[in-house]
């Protein structure tokens, strides 16, 4: 589904990402871990065509993302606050996205119902602009917005950051349900090894732009990751 071919990204001559070959299958839950500066966000931005690759390409459904817009219809993403239109209320923001993605009013109502627990009564109907919400609630809006269009591919950069414990647990549950009930392909990065092993079936460790580990999840995975990062 997502094919990364000879992908590199350089800033001022310094290689920050170098992925010769990485293939993510349809329905896979793909986790990305690594220390700061390992290239996680860079990789996600390249997948979403937000920065230009120095060489190589990312293909979604065999189409180069840099030369096609089709992937946008099937991809939901939230990387950071640069995705949020902060002078709208959450409802207006979802309404805007629904308009852009041609989602009917009924489906939007269903979406609100589905995310009611996730929002925990702190997001909807508050008559507050997104910029006036707390960081955690902004994060909730962004994650929900990524899922609004029922995407085939979901890209989330450190989604657990800034969420309260209850919401973290709810998010894990939500993602696992999605995995079971649909054929969604998930790409999630995190600094928290527990979370990532809770959600993802395949985990790649990035270090200085290179994929040094590519693990199918088993009982030992968490231990293996902990040992790696402790060393």
């Amino acid at each position: 589904m997502i094919n990364t071919i000879n992908l590199t990204k350089e800033y001022n001559g310094q290689v920050v990402l170098n992925l010769p070959h990485l293939f993510i299958n349809k329905g896979e839950s793909f986790g990305l871990v690594g220390n700061n500066g390992a290239g996680k966000t860079t990789y996600f931005r390249l997948i979403l065509d937000l920065i230009r690759a120095t060489s190589g390409e990312v293909r979604i459904n065999n189409e180069d993302v840099a030369h096609s817009e089709n992937w946008k219809k099937i991809t939901g993403s939230f990387l950071d606050e640069n995705f949020l239109i902060d002078f709208l209320t959450p409802e207006e923001y979802f309404d805007f996205l629904a308009g852009v993605h041609h989602i009917s009013k009924g489906d939007l109502e269903n979406f609100y119902a589905e995310f009611e627990t996730f929002f925990n009564g702190e997001v909807l109907g508050k008559r507050k602009y997104i910029r006036d919400l707390s960081k955690g609630n902004q994060q909730k809006v962004g994650i929900a917005a990524a899922l609004l269009s029922k995407p085939e591919i979901l890209v989330l950069d450190e989604p657990f950051n800034g969420l309260d414990p209850t919401t973290q647990i709810r998010l894990i549950k939500l993602l696992n349900q999605l995995k079971e009930n649909s054929d969604i392909t998930m790409l999630i990065s995190s600094h928290d090894l527990n979370h990532i092993t809770d959600v993802c079936e395949r985990i790649v460790v990035l270090h200085e732009g290179k994929a040094i580990k590519d693990i199918r999840k088993s009982e030992n995975t968490l231990k293996e990751l902990e040992d790696y990062f402790a060393a």
Partner: protein, 491 residues
């Protein structure tokens, strides 16, 4: 401790985003301020020197003094709009072992460095040299200078107090401006004489130097009123304006136009809900009233070239003010736009509709100028068609040059954050193109044909809108990574 305060203030000033501009912008802004300064200096020297000639019937000192209070009132108004209230900058110091009272004194002292406190002296120094020095004694002049100084400082502290306690409701400043105008008019017709009150105060300082104690008393009261108000509300949360519930305005009409309608609605909300774009809206009346500066004067009415300039200007207020920051307005959520919008033709069409629509409305508003002649209506019509057919595409084409993040929460006046060469360049083709179209016809003695040609060019632009839009989108597609990367950089 004071040393540290001053050092941090100095660093803050030196590292302000305003300075992180390209050299060209610094030079242009520098020249702009230099000329403003020069105009003040030359103007005040000229005025002081020629005072006796301008008002031959009056005593020059008394006449000058009659304007002083008005001057301070205007200064008060200008401060209300532009001077920052330096309260929130205290936050990083609140948890340190420093007395709160010295923090407050420091904040108040800091406000003295505002450039509004220096402007009056540019005006007064020439007056003192030309009109006072030859006639009055050193003591009398010292008393006068001190009373002016105390008044300037009083205005400084009063405006801070006023601004803090009345929040930043702009209608209050409108009321205040109106009050000044009303007082001025009443003065002119001799109902109430603020002027002679002003003369009374400042002339009596010259005759009885002890009167200087009066402005000094006002200053002391203003300072301590400020001090008390600040110390009682030293926590940042007490100084924040109470957040109103979000205004939930939806323009239902636009919703039926699908994605384009959604995008137009988004831009309208962007304008109404953020300080920076909102503060540009104040300039719209200035654009529309521009005609009154030119049309009444016989000299300009004959110059069609000048009238074309005025026409382009008046029929395109939104076009130009919104246009100069197209894309930059959206810099804080541009990644979201890039990942969600799969059709940039429609994305730019929404922006085009806004510019073309507002041009049409602006044209309707300028119709009454027909009072000054039917040819003015004709010129404005041609300019409006041009501003619908061609100018928006120029704006959109050049918008791909914008790659600076814009902080929407700051006001527009004297705000150079996010400014780059693009904004200066933008207006050139918009004004120059119609002139160039007009020029050959004018040279061959048929200006009317030139005006029609401007309109026809606009119509051609409407006819070839798809081609023009494709040019815009192609350029954007080529430059989108550069734009997005620039927008991600925080100030």
């Amino acid at each position: 401790m004071l040393k540290w305060f001053l050092r941090n203030e100095w660093r803050e000033m030196k590292r302000a985003s305003m300075w992180e501009q390209s050299l060209a912008i610094k030079i242009i802004v520098g020249i702009l301020f230099f000329f403003l300064f020069l105009e003040f200096v030359v103007g005040s020297i000229f005025f002081s020197d020629k005072l006796t000639k301008i008002f031959p019937d009056d005593d020059p000192v008394e006449k000058f003094n009659s304007f002083v209070l008005y001057g301070f009132a205007l200064g008060f108004l200008a401060r209300f709009f532009m001077q920052k209230v330096p309260v929130l900058s205290l936050q990083p110091y609140l948890h340190l072992p420093v007395k709160k009272s010295s923090l407050v004194h420091f904040v108040l002292g800091k406000s003295l460095s505002s450039f509004f406190n220096f402007i009056p002296f540019i005006v007064f120094i020439p007056f003192i040299i030309f009109q006072l020095a030859p006639w009055y004694s050193a003591i009398e002049i010292t008393a006068y200078v001190l009373s002016i100084l105390f008044t300037v400082l009083s205005v400084n502290f009063l405006s801070i107090l006023f601004k803090r306690s009345l929040s930043t409701n702009s209608w209050i400043s409108g009321v205040f401006a109106l009050l000044i105008i009303v007082l001025g008019v009443m003065d002119y017709y001799g109902f109430v004489s603020t002027g002679s009150f002003s003369t009374l105060i400042f002339t009596s300082v010259l005759n009885k130097p002890l009167v200087v104690l009066l402005p000094l008393a006002v200053l002391i009261i203003a300072y301590f009123a400020n001090y008390r108000s600040l110390i009682s509300k030293i926590y940042p949360e007490e100084n924040r304006k109470a957040k109103k519930g979000a205004a939930l305005t939806d323009i239902k009409y636009l919703k039926q136009f699908g994605m384009i309608g959604q995008l137009m609605q988004l831009e309208i909300k962007l304008f109404l809900r953020n300080k920076r774009p909102k503060s540009t809206l104040i300039f719209i009346p200035i654009f529309l009233l521009y005609g009154f500066f030119f049309y009444p004067q016989e000299v300009y009415r004959g110059m069609s070239g000048m009238l074309i300039f005025v026409g382009i200007f008046m029929t395109g207020p939104i076009l130009m003010m919104y246009g100069q920051y197209v894309l930059s307005w959206e810099s804080s959520y541009f990644d979201g736009i890039l990942t969600n919008i799969d059709d940039f033709n429609r994305y730019f069409r929404a922006k085009y509709n806004l510019m073309a629509g507002t041009t049409f409305v602006a044209f309707l508003v300028t119709i009454p100028y027909v009072y000054y002649g039917t040819h003015i209506l004709l010129i404005n019509l041609a300019c409006a068609i041009f501003n619908v057919g061609i100018s928006p595409y120029i704006v959109l084409f050049l918008s791909s040059n914008n790659k600076k993040r814009l902080d929407l929460s700051q006001g527009q006046a004297f705000n150079y954050q996010g400014v780059s060469g693009t904004q200066f360049i933008l207006s050139i083709p918009i004004f120059l193109t119609p002139m160039l179209i007009y020029l050959p016809f004018w040279a061959f003695g048929n200006p009317m044909a030139g005006i029609i040609a401007i309109g026809v060019t606009g119509l051609a632009g409407i006819g070839f809108n798809k081609v023009l839009m494709n040019l815009v989108v192609q350029r954007f597609e080529r430059r989108r990574y550069i734009i997005a990367e620039g927008f991600r950089k925080k100030f």
